[in-house]
């Protein structure tokens, strides 16, 4: 059997995987109303929609980078950390950021998808069939690539086009090796780390201090993905570093800089645009650059070849080998229903990277911005603004948690509906979790900022004034989702199966969380007055959202 047959079979496997991802039949979910023959088509359509969403985000990032490159002449006039940067350095910085974000976003998307791929069992089903080994490996590899087809195509096509539109066709061609490497590394990293998560995190035993160990693993593995947002914060510092290194002429540190992925691929378009001398490389530097480009490109191609051969092996072998070990004694510590939901969600998140990311991200973001404010000079007004912006970001990010934690319910949705668990308990448990993450993130950033800018009253009042808005946003989103789950019977599953719902329901959440922040900005006068008005707006929102979410058919299960 050849590639054509492998492609056909991988299409069948993709349909089954889509069904599992969308309808979660293996978790006991019931088929939705409507003719059963339409289910497969509907599942595939929903998966395509979600891929379009992910590809759209990547396209927007590329367009944004292109926009930045277009205004580079104006931006380079601004010193970054006291250093003036050349156009070549600025272009390198922007393209480095773009490639890093593309790797991180594709990788993160893969981490969401791979547990579903491994748990769906679509690959083991094919094994007993009379299909030769080579075709089975091709089927598995093609299935994996098809999960990323639209996002990967967006990176491979849109990035060169956007770069060409701003810097010219030669620069567009020069970025092609970079996007190939970005896609190759991201897909291979997703496979390796996804498997790692399934084995070491999802497969980790309970009890003892293992939850802490799991969260530590998750933080370590989320750190690179955090780069996609962290880079935005670190960009001025990075540009200053590159400018300083390049400004001193050829050096070992310069050579090291151009050998670190993805910088060499970002340097190529800059050199093509601004000439070979623009980056100040000598013969050794040019050699290092060429070797780095060739080496990374070869590694990326090898990554694709490796993953094509490995998906079958990883997808068929049991991801979690049970290793029974006697437990000396165990005890149950029941809590109230709402606390039980909160604890259950945290435990599930600690074994599922996609959900864990949502818990960890705002906290890491708070640490990063908090450290940034700590490093800036004392008494700086920018520090004050940055700290408030960090808390605002944590509040706005919190609006994505409602849909995410609601998605956890789908894991055993049917079983949950047979328990005497009211919508209200589920909702309160999830809202409490969102509030806790917001408060921890705010606490970190404010704690670090207070060392330099000692204004505890205003900071604390700001964070607390926004809290009702965070609660209102979560209640509003979860109220909408519970209504939808009751009428349609299908909750959101993950990024690749119901991303649109998460995005749509986040809009009213963002407005709710954002209104008090807008009020704070608009109110003239002292910060105390602005915080007071902000708090009033937030409390008003909570007064409206709570009856909607908690008062809807109390006592009914989702």
């Amino acid at each position: 059997m050849g590639w054509r047959e492998a492609w056909r079979i991988s299409g069948v496997a993709l349909t089954e995987l889509s069904l599992q991802a969308i309808y979660a039949f293996r978790q006991g979910n019931l088929p939705p109303a409507g003719p059963p023959r339409l289910l497969a088509a509907r599942a595939r359509r929903r998966v395509i929609q979600s891929k379009v969403l992910v590809a759209g985000v990547l396209g927007l990032v590329a367009a944004g980078a292109s926009l930045l490159l277009g205004i580079s002449a104006r931006i380079v006039a601004t010193p970054f950390f006291g250093v003036l940067v050349s156009p070549a350095v600025f272009e390198t910085g922007v393209l480095t950021g773009l490639l890093a974000i593309e790797v991180a976003f594709l990788w993160w998307t893969g981490l969401q998808v791979i547990p579903t791929l491994l748990a769906s069992g679509v690959l083991p089903v094919l094994e007993p069939l009379p299909i030769d080994d080579r075709t089975l490996a091709r089927v598995a590899g093609l299935l994996y690539l098809r999960l990323f087809d639209l996002p990967a195509a967006m990176v491979l096509v849109a990035t060169p086009l956007f770069v060409a539109a701003t810097l010219g066709a030669p620069a567009g061609v020069a970025i092609v090796p970079g996007v190939i490497a970005a896609v190759g590394f991201a897909l291979a990293l997703a496979l390796v780390t996804g498997r790692f998560f399934v084995r070491r995190v999802q497969g980790s035993r309970g009890g003892g201090g293992r939850t802490f160990v799991r969260w530590t693993y998750l933080v370590l593995w989320v750190l690179p993905a955090f780069a996609m947002f962290g880079f935005v914060v670190a960009a001025p510092g990075f540009l200053a570093l590159v400018a300083r290194t390049v400004g001193t002429g050829p050096s070992l540190s310069g050579d090291l800089l151009v050998s670190a992925f993805p910088i060499p691929f970002a340097v190529l378009p800059a050199i093509v645009t601004d000439g070979p001398r623009a980056f100040g490389l000598d013969t050794v530097g040019a050699g290092v650059l060429s070797a780095a480009v060739a080496g990374y490109l070869a590694l990326a191609v090898w990554s694709i070849v490796w993953l094509m051969a490995s998906v079958r092996r990883l997808g068929v072998a049991p991801a979690m080998a049970p290793a029974p070990a006697p437990v000396a004694r165990f005890a149950l510590a029941p809590r109230g229903p709402a606390r039980a939901v909160l604890t259950k969600d945290l435990r599930v998140a600690s074994r599922m990277p996609g959900y864990a990311f949502l818990v960890i991200f705002p906290i890491l973001e708070a640490v990063a911005i908090g450290l940034f404010t700590f490093l800036t000079g004392p008494g700086s007004t920018a520090t004050f603004g940055l700290a408030l912006a960090a808390v605002s970001t944590a509040a706005l990010l919190a609006t994505f948690f409602g849909p995410a934690f609601f998605a956890i319910e789908v894991i055993a949705y049917s079983y949950g509906r047979t328990l005497p668990l009211s919508d209200r308990s589920v909702l309160l448990g999830k809202v409490a979790l969102v509030a806790a993450i917001y408060l921890v993130a705010s606490g970190i950033v404010l704690g670090l900022t207070l060392v330099r800018v000692f204004a505890p009253g205003v900071f604390l009042a700001f964070a607390l004034a926004e809290l009702p808005a965070v609660l209102a946003a979560s209640l509003l989103e979860l109220g909408i989702l519970f209504r939808r789950a009751r009428t349609k019977g299908l909750p959101i599953v993950n990024l690749y199966s119901g991303g649109w719902y998460a995005v749509l329901v986040a809009v009213p959440g963002l407005v709710t969380a954002g209104l008090p922040l807008v009020a704070f900005r608009l109110v003239a006068g002292s910060p105390e007055t602005a915080v007071f008005v902000m708090g009033l707006v937030a409390l008003g929102e909570l007064a409206l959202a709570a009856p909607f979410a908690l008062g809807v058919r109390p006592g009914r299960t989702a």
């Binding site: 293996r26 165990f330 604890t343």
Partner: protein, 266 residues
């Protein structure tokens, strides 16, 4: 839960004119049956006969398109929370939070059912020991075999000692030892207690050994109901086994020989 608190009616389960349909497709058609106090009632039927749909409407997973279900006199739709407090359910497929361990899952169920710690722990320990689950109690459910998952679901259903147990093919993946324990446990569970068990199976031998009465479902319709003796009389089957009675009452014995002969030539 004390017997006096079971509900306004001592009858554990009553289905009246119950119909369930998925879109245009009817799965259960005007089904009426009762599980009496102290009784294990078996729902028998071939694949697709409507057993699971009936059970799902009892536990609140499917809304009946017609008729009503009452649990100890409480309406399963209008009073769903109080109904669910009174029943323990073992589903046909393992519907669990696979990211949790059995201990974490049982703790969640005990919390939702508002059990106190010592009671929940004692019961969980006893059942885990009986089903030899202690060594897997801290393993992620995702890594457990189907049989072990089934044990977890059985323990979760029994944890609050519900007055009504609803079991959908509960013995399917269990090992022989656990099957024996379940049979003994269920017989003792209902004896003189006022409790009831609704039990679905297509294994006639199990139903014959375990159930006080059985209802035979065929394409969503109740063909016959009663004790094994009553069914034998109705089917004019002498001292035939339940399997033969079942095949005769559902007319699935017609063409059986020719189907087997056709297989010989396959």
């Amino acid at each position: 839960m004390a017997r006096a608190d079971y509900g306004p009616d001592p009858t554990p389960l009553a289905a009246v004119e119950l119909s369930v349909s998925y879109g245009e497709r009817p799965a259960v058609d005007r089904l009426s049956f009762t599980v009496r106090p102290g009784e294990i009632y078996g729902l028998l039927g071939s694949n697709g006969a409507g057993k699971s749909s009936t059970i799902k409407s009892v536990v609140g997973l499917v809304r009946p398109s017609h008729g009503r279900v009452s649990v100890f006199g409480l309406d399963a739709v209008a009073d769903s929370l109080r109904t669910k407090e009174r029943l323990g359910y073992v589903p046909e497929t393992s519907m669990l939070y696979e990211a949790l361990t059995p201990r974490e899952f049982l703790e969640f169920v005990a919390s939702v059912r508002r059990l106190d710690g010592p009671t929940a722990s004692e019961r969980a320990k006893s059942y885990a020991a009986a089903f030899r689950l202690e060594s897997e109690i801290e393993e992620p459910i995702a890594s457990l075999s189907n049989g072990t998952r089934q044990k977890v679901l059985i323990i979760a259903a029994l944890l609050h000692q519900p007055p009504l147990l609803v079991l959908d093919e509960p013995l399917n993946s269990l090992d022989p030892r656990s099957v024996r324990i379940m049979k003994e446990l269920l017989a003792r569970y209902v004896a003189g207690s006022g409790r009831g068990v609704l039990f679905s199976t297509h294994t006639m031998e199990v139903a014959e050994q375990l159930c006080h009465r059985v209802g035979i479902l065929d394409r969503g319709v109740l063909r016959a109901e009663g004790t094994l003796e009553a069914l034998r009389l109705r089917a004019a089957a002498g001292d035939a086994s339940l399997e033969e009675v079942f095949l005769r009452l559902t007319r699935e014995d017609e063409g059986l020989d020719s189907a087997v002969r056709a297989l010989e030539g396959a």
